[in-house]
């Protein structure tokens, strides 16, 4: 019998600790990978999957050590022959990681570095051939105007573009094995979907075997023939992909599949019925913000980045309002405007009957109390040297509320409410888990009894289990205190679960505004559809990315072309889209989308957003 392309037997990797002891990272890893097959490797963060991926490319460095087992290439042991292993790297075994922006030298052009790599591993290639091959492959990964892009520097590439270039870098030497370690993790969903499709195509075309590592089961399931499940350093399950998804055996796999959020099953929260008379809690009308950025190549010129363009929406008390979009769509700028970190250039933001722009002094103080922001990053948003109790108490002190005793009592109460143990009150935040840190953030925001909580990617860094717990907590707090939430997020599955009304942003513009159910099952804007098609999910897809999205990336927000901003990627674009700009059009009394294809309801009642 012929030896498999890659054979791993009883691989153990240990981490040497400061104390001189060791901690096992990988235990007894054994698997085989035949040529031309794609093996998926899935596990939570900390399960050791990146270490395993790196072991396959001889990238185990201090303080990690391989303490046992073998890695064989076509039956030949590699661990005993590190030099031979080193020679395989880059030529026969290629690696693409999850850090596209940092992989190449920032001071040299992308093309030169790809050529440099090819010439290093295949010295007999002529430079001319190498350049030709690189440009061809750049074209094959659909980098626009590749011969020009060849001469550009890494910083001139977007994340998705860079990942494409790195796939070229990996595949240019015709490797037999590609180790893809979290390749889609830093990318936006629509871009990630395109990268995945591309990898599938290319590895098929070049008959490359792939080890595909990811923490997202739906992503791996999309690409791999077979799956390995890694849990606490051990392989707990190995099955063909379909079978694993439908019949998971190991309890861990079952739990993993069980807690995946679903999008197309069940119902999202419905909007609360409201009478005609209710005033919105937060009303945003015609709000725009343009940033000036100094132009690089000119004497005194500025580029105008239109971060938010004429946003209109209302949020009513008790609502869960969602703002979704990919990076650079303007959702963070919108957050800055709403929290009055910056004034908008035009338009009005009215909160609780108060115009944000005109209120100052004590009115502003009061307003700040009623509108709280919970930030994204649980690791950097807490001061490391203050005890947890003091951190939560701080807003009370700033606003001069209550005496010391009274405040302490309130802190205790709030900690109880968000599920933080009372004994933590005098601890430093250093020992807290990500979930606990996020709870501290929530506690700090809610201690002032705000009316509106703005959650800016608050849950993005948490794993599924923690996310679920926090979402349940939010729900409970809402029921008890009547909070209104504004979720700013890129995570459609999360938004589907909690938001009753959702705004979709693209290039600074709200392109669709609709109730949950309508948005997901009958999106009015092609971009919404594209976004939905790209969400990784194990469920049967309602929309196929191939049909919903053209290749390419969002145009730069500087000097936007006239017409519809989605026109460059929209499969249904037609002439008018390139010259005229579609405004938000009502599809029904509540739902709006900014696309020429939207057909207004017959009784075209002129409604304002969200009214």
């Amino acid at each position: 019998m012929e030896a498999p392309l890659l054979g791993v037997q009883g691989l153990n990797v240990d981490l040497a600790l400061q104390s001189g002891r060791t901690r096992p990272i990988l235990r007894d890893i054994s698997f085989e990978l035949p040529a031309k097959r794609t093996l998926g490797l899935i596990g939570a963060s900390g399960a050791g999957k990146t270490v395993l991926a790196k072991a396959l490319v001889n990238w185990i460095e201090q303080p990690l050590h391989i303490t046992g087992g073998t890695i064989a290439w076509r039956g030949k042991d590699l661990l005993g022959d590190r030099q031979g292993f080193g020679r395989l790297r880059g030529s026969k075994i290629a690696y693409v990681g999850g850090n596209p922006a940092g992989t190449l030298d920032p001071t040299q052009t992308v093309g030169a570095q790809i050529v440099e790599k090819l010439l290093s591993v295949q010295p007999r290639t002529s430079r001319r051939e190498a350049i030709e091959k690189a440009v061809d492959l750049l074209a094959a990964v659909r980098i626009p105007s590749p011969s020009q892009r060849f001469h550009e520097y890494p910083y001139q590439y977007s994340g998705g573009m860079m990942q494409r270039a790195l796939i070229v870098d990996a595949l240019i030497s015709d490797p037999e094995l590609l180790v893809a370690d979290n390749v889609t993790q830093p990318l936006d969903v629509t871009v990630a979907a395109q990268i995945l499709k591309l990898m599938r195509e290319l590895t098929e075309r070049f008959a490359t075997a792939v080890v595909f590592v990811s923490s997202s089961l739906p992503v791996v399931a999309d690409i791999a023939d077979e799956l390995l499940v890694l849990h606490e350093g051990r392989i707990v399950e190995r099955q063909a992909t379909r079978r694993l998804v439908s019949h998971p055996i190991h309890a861990y796999t079952q739990a993993l599949i069980g807690e995946l959020p679903t999008i197309w099953q069940g119902h999202g929260p419905a909007e609360r019925p409201r009478g005609q008379t209710t005033e919105p809690l937060l009303s945003v009308s015609e709000v725009s913000k343009t940033y000036k950025v100094r132009k690089r190549d000119s004497f005194a010129g500025y580029n105008h980045v239109q971060a938010v363009r004429r946003a209109n929406f209302d949020i009513f008390k008790g609502d869960n309002f969602g703002v979704v979009g990919e990076s650079g769509c303007g959702k963070s700028s919108l957050m800055r405007l709403l929290t009055r970190l910056e004034p908008p250039d035009t338009g009005r933001i009215v909160f609780d009957g108060q115009d944000l722009a005109t209120c100052g002094g004590s009115a502003l103080q009061k307003l700040r109390r009623r509108l709280q922001l919970v930030l994204q990053d649980p690791f950097s948003s807490l001061p490391p040297r203050s005890p947890i109790g003091a951190i939560i108490e701080e807003p009370l002190r700033i606003h001069g509320l209550g005496g010391a005793k009274e405040r302490r009592r309130q802190v205790r109460d709030v900690m109880g409410e968000v599920g933080l143990d009372a004994t933590l009150i005098d601890e430093l935040p250093a020992g807290l888990s990500a979930g606990q840190r996020q709870r501290v953030n929530v506690a700090r925001a809610m201690i002032l009894e705000p009316a509106l909580l703005i959650m800016d990617e608050t849950l993005s860094s948490l794993d599924q289990t923690e996310q679920t717990k926090l979402l349940n907590l939010f729900e409970r707090l809402q029921a008890q205190h009547g909070f209104t939430y504004l979720f700013i997020s890129h995570d459609l599955a999360m938004v589907r679960r909690v938001c009753s009304r959702i705004a979709v942003m693209y290039l600074g513009e709200i392109v669709e505004l609709a109730a949950n159910e309508r948005l997901f099952f009958d999106p009015g804007h092609p971009y919404t559809k594209a976004l939905l098609s790209a969400v990784p999910t194990l469920e049967e897809r309602r929309y196929r990315p191939e049909d919903c999205l053209l290749e390419g990336e969002p145009p730069s927000p500087i000097d936007l072309p006239p017409g519809c901003s989605f026109a460059s990627r929209c499969p249904s674009a037609f002439d008018r889209c390139r010259s005229q700009h579609p405004g938000l059009t009502a599809r029904s009394s509540h739902d709006l989308a900014a696309c020429f294809l939207v057909e207004p309801p017959r009784v075209a009642a002129r409604e304002t957003a969200g009214a």
Partner: protein
């Protein structure tokens, strides 16, 4: 395009800086105590004569008027004449005032043009020597942080830092010049006279260069692309030489720019000790003699050099690392 707009912007900024320097120096010189006419004419000259000369020279006009007159000349490339130095070159102290010989006073521009090349040569030699010392030490230190090359770099750096330059200069003169007679030391008659002072300066600068290099090399070596290079199939030496060092060179380049400018501004102590006839020595004498035009001229010309060097350094840095944008 980029280069042109860059140059235009930076040169404009440079002119503003030079103008400010000119204005500051000019006004400061006129408010600090010490009357140049008194020094020129000698202590015995009668008060009335001094007033007369001063008025003739325009020194009693309002400062702004004086400044305007001066600036108008400078723009035409005329930095005026030294108050005290005769055109024939020899430095004079407070020579007796003699109205007739005023026309024979040396042009400031000529004086600077005579001395600046020597200082330039000294600075360049010193920088090269410092690079020779610090490149190997700093790079090795950065490549093996915490190991012996790093410690060697640190120790040598500390020793260099703690050697005072006047002490080192005198010791070297006594040892190499007086005792062993290997190298000439005092005055200037050829390149050999540059070596000792340059070495003293190099030792003075080297610790900063070593430190900068160690830190920047060590930092770059932590970058992901350094680790990823061998995985992509590049040899480690290639990654270090072609990618690591290139990325680490920008901080050093910036430091070189600053140090070079400082050297051009006159290395007062070292030039004084070695009696090296450069800008430093010229400056010292000019200040001692209240030679206003000369002081002003030196200040303006060195600040212009400063501006130019900075522009050159930044331009060079952007060609090394195109992300930089000044």
């Amino acid at each position: 395009m980029f280069v042109l707009s860059f140059l235009a912007r930076r040169l404009l900024q440079g002119f503003v800086i030079i103008f400010l320097v000119m204005f500051l120096i000019f006004t400061l010189l006129r408010v600090v105590p010490g009357d140049p006419v008194r020094l020129m004419a000698g202590g015995m000259a009668p008060e009335a004569l001094i007033e007369q000369i001063a008025t003739q020279m325009g020194l009693r006009d309002p400062i702004l008027v004086q400044f305007g007159r001066y600036a108008a000349h400078v723009v035409q490339g005329d930095f005026g004449q030294s108050f005290v130095r005769p055109a024939d070159g020899a430095a004079t102290g407070g020579a007796a005032f003699n109205d007739a010989s005023r026309s024979e006073r040396a042009e400031v521009l000529t004086l600077v043009a005579q001395t600046a090349p020597r200082t330039f040569q000294l600075a360049l030699t010193a920088i090269l020597m410092a690079l020779l010392i610090s490149l190997p030490l700093g790079v090795a230190g950065g490549l093996y942080p915490g190991r012996w090359p790093d410690r060697l770099a640190l120790y040598l750096g500390s020793i260099f830092v703690s050697l005072p330059n006047f002490w080192l200069g005198i010791v070297l003169i006594l040892l190499l010049s007086v005792k062993l007679a290997w190298l000439p030391a005092i005055g200037y008659q050829g390149f050999a006279w540059t070596i000792l002072p340059a070495f003293v300066l190099a030792i003075e600068m080297a610790p900063f260069m070593i430190r900068t290099l160690t830190v920047s090399v060590a930092q770059v070596m932590q970058e992901y692309f350094i680790a990823a290079g061998p995985v992509r199939g590049l040899s480690r030496s290639r990654v270090v030489l072609r990618h690591g060092l290139k990325n680490a060179s920008v901080p050093l380049l910036n430091l070189l720019g600053v140090q070079f400018s400082m050297l051009l501004g006159g290395v007062l102590v070292v030039e004084y000790i070695f009696d090296y006839p450069g800008l430093g020595l010229l400056t010292i004498n000019a200040v001692l003699q209240r030679d206003f035009p000369l002081i002003q001229g030196i200040a303006i010309i060195t600040s212009a050099a400063f501006v130019l060097i900075n522009i050159a350094v930044d331009l060079l840095a952007t060609t090394i690392d195109p992300r930089l944008d000044y």
